[in-house]
Symmetry: D2
Subunit: 263 residues, 4 copies
């Protein structure tokens, strides 16, 4: 009898839990969109194949030149909607072969903050393929520290379309999938305009982003709906200038040749 | 013992349920956004107060002139993403006092289909206030049969901001809340541009909508993300021209002076 | 001989003049565009016909209520690209029948300056028709003191399309011509977003304007190219907030029911 | 006497000419804008410096691969507003060193016509500098055969800002000047969306173009006002798909690695 009472009370507890779960709630999966699947495009190559991407133009701020990581600080437990209370420290990402690699449970953000800009950045996901979907070569570039352009191994690696490489995470599917093979360097050329808010905190104009991936258009003046949430809907929170943030997601993704031009 | 076994199996069943609920799932509440709350603006009035809104200009298609409901058919069980298999019949909405009133579990759609347009429409929610939130004076205007401009009693009637009157339902909060009192006639002046799709089914340009409510800007060239879903995220489904649809949501909401100009 | 020498020197002088005239030069006519001619649309009417337009909403700044002209100062010899050195004085426009009338060679500007806004304004051109083309009922509303929305008698009064009523002067032809008859009150509902400049003085985003004239769309999120010049091309000159300006062009054009909402 | 009569009649003839010149008229110089002057930016380089630009991705139409000029026809006496009556023949531009060079008083247009697209094209102006301003290394890329993205030697070669390399000719000044030296290969990456017209022949949406020159943003979703006229204002003439056109302007400008992706 006692046991059954215990069981009943457990049961009631679970029932309460179940009821609670019928209230407003979101899973990460709620905001995944799997179709349409952007068609694959094989990007062209630089000739000779050993060539790296274009170096910084004269008016760019070089954020990483292959050696000097001092323009970045590490951040833990940041929240795109609330940058206060974030633990920050010196840049802890290892630098090798002219690249910084995401690591150690810390993301990186630039010390400097930006409004409207053109950004060039190169990335490579690990050549040794491990995991799949969102678990393979995952990282991300957060524009103004809030709006994530996804970085992921997109080569024969099915995932939800609005979370694949080239997507504005859980907001905008890329037009096509121009991924190179794992371990190959890839480029993002990004043109970003910050959103505009009024005194009521309403967003008068959305942020806008154009992205070329490996030289191919994947986002065309795409309207950014709000913060790029893992769970739930984009949030609209007024803000001023913001940093660039490179996410550590547990996979050693490399970055190099990072430069930015204020527009 | 038997009881406790029963209890345990029930318990395990509930546990399974709870686990199942951790899988992808959405409630209607998932996509509700309650803040910010658009500030209230009292709209101006026509003078004399008995004046009705502007009559149709010479190049408009008059969709409802106060008497003739023949440009509409009733629809049941429509799905904004799939218009096939919809039950249609003649217009069943009662006409009285120069207005059509939503009723009988059937929505209305125009026989004619449209692309880009300017639409004038007047609506009134019941003067006898019943229910609250989404249950008070609920109806909706579906642009191209897919994208809902919400109609709701917005006068001292808290609900989630992205579902209030003047919102693009569960997508875009209105800039302000210029609601008139229940039972008073209100106006929408709507400028709509259809989205643009490419051969891959990708949306090259989002639909755009500007809305004046009672003469006050509530949506400014707002980008439409996709279909306006009750549960879950907007869907992007390529389409051509589409009808105008007035929703029956169980509340007798009146419509009058409806005219449209193709742009 | 002497005469012919004189003639020759005169001739050479004229030849020099002719050569000089081949150098850069512009007439006002250079920037007139006469086609296409927007088709005429007869706007709807308020019922009863004696009704005036909508009064100001609760959050609007009333710039003219029919009696009080104190929110305006008169300006002479202003230059949209350079507001310094302008002669300003008190408002000299006569007020009668609830309207201000352009007069006395002075334009009016608001004391207050604005950025992004919604503006409602009503105007009437003289009921006694005098002159034609640009000489009939000419005035203008300069947004931020720089960008003119043309005011003109547009009823059976041919002129160049990019200078007719509803045009962004010498920049953007209105979509249609919804003019009322001379002497009748007409409405403009204007949604304006200021242009955005960068540190180099380059225009990163153009100003944008949507205009409903007598309730009919004539400008749809139109990009403003620069200042609206009488002679020559639009000029791009960076600026901050600016006033509203009503032009005196020698014809007694009336204005009433002017209110503005900051966005 | 006879001489002076002759002189007088000549004089009167010139006087008439002078009067005629006071009538509406435009010089090419009328639409030149010389300020602001975009600041110079030295673009980055590919490493090694011998590298050429990216080859065509898998979904691109290769318009010129360095050898085969058969996708182009030569055109003479074309008019961007009227393609009828144009004399066309086979491609007469010489091909050497993997590039086509403008020559022989004929421009080239693609046989195929396009709507919205991404275009990659590389060009070089002559390494032997001759002439100046618009006379040095002049050519042009006409989008849809109507809207010219200027090609010109922009290295230490002052000209009017709205006619320099990177400009939408006589419409939009580039944000900066990222010219390489004469004789060096330069790249344009162009994202183009065609304008949208309604049944009245009114332009509902302007064409839009984003241009990266040598990897640097020079045009950002720029609104195209109409045709890019040498003399006078842009013209708005409705049209459907159109070819790509490379202009011969008397200077041997080379083109290579031309590919286009329909969007």
């Amino acid at each position: 009898m006692k046991k059954s009472i215990l069981a009943l009370s457990l049961l009631l507890g679970l029932a309460q839990l179940a009821v609670a779960q019928e209230k407003p709630k979101q899973n990460p999966e709620s905001s995944e969109i799997w179709e349409p699947v952007p068609r694959v495009v094989t990007p062209g190559v630089l000739s000779p194949a050993t060539a790296s991407g274009t170096t910084a133009p004269s008016d760019a701020i070089v954020l990483f030149d292959g050696k000097d990581g001092s323009k970045w600080v590490s951040v833990k437990d940041y929240n795109p909607n609330n940058w206060s209370g974030v633990t920050e420290g010196s840049n802890t990402w290892p630098i090798r072969d002219g690249a910084m690699f995401s690591a150690k449970g810390a993301s990186l953000r630039t010390k400097q903050e930006f409004q409207d800009f053109q950004l060039h950045i190169e990335f490579r996901t690990p050549d040794k393929v491990e995991g799949n979907g969102q678990g393979r070569g995952n990282s991300g570039i957060f524009l103004q520290g809030r709006y994530e352009l996804q970085v992921l191994d997109g080569y024969n690696n099915p995932t939800y379309s609005n979370g694949m490489v080239g997507s504005i995470y859980k907001q905008a599917i890329p037009l096509v999938n121009p991924s190179r093979k794992p371990g190959e360097w890839q480029t993002y050329d990004i043109i970003y305009f910050a959103p505009r808010f009024n005194k009521d905190g309403m967003m008068l104009e959305q942020g806008k982003v154009t992205v070329l991936m490996n030289g191919i258009l994947v986002q065309n003046n795409t309207n950014i709906k709000g913060t790029t949430e893992y769970i739930g809907y984009p949030k609209i929170v007024p803000h001023g200038k913001g940093p660039l943030l490179l996410q550590d997601h547990g996979n050693p993704v490399g970055y190099r040749n990072i430069w930015i031009r204020e527009l």
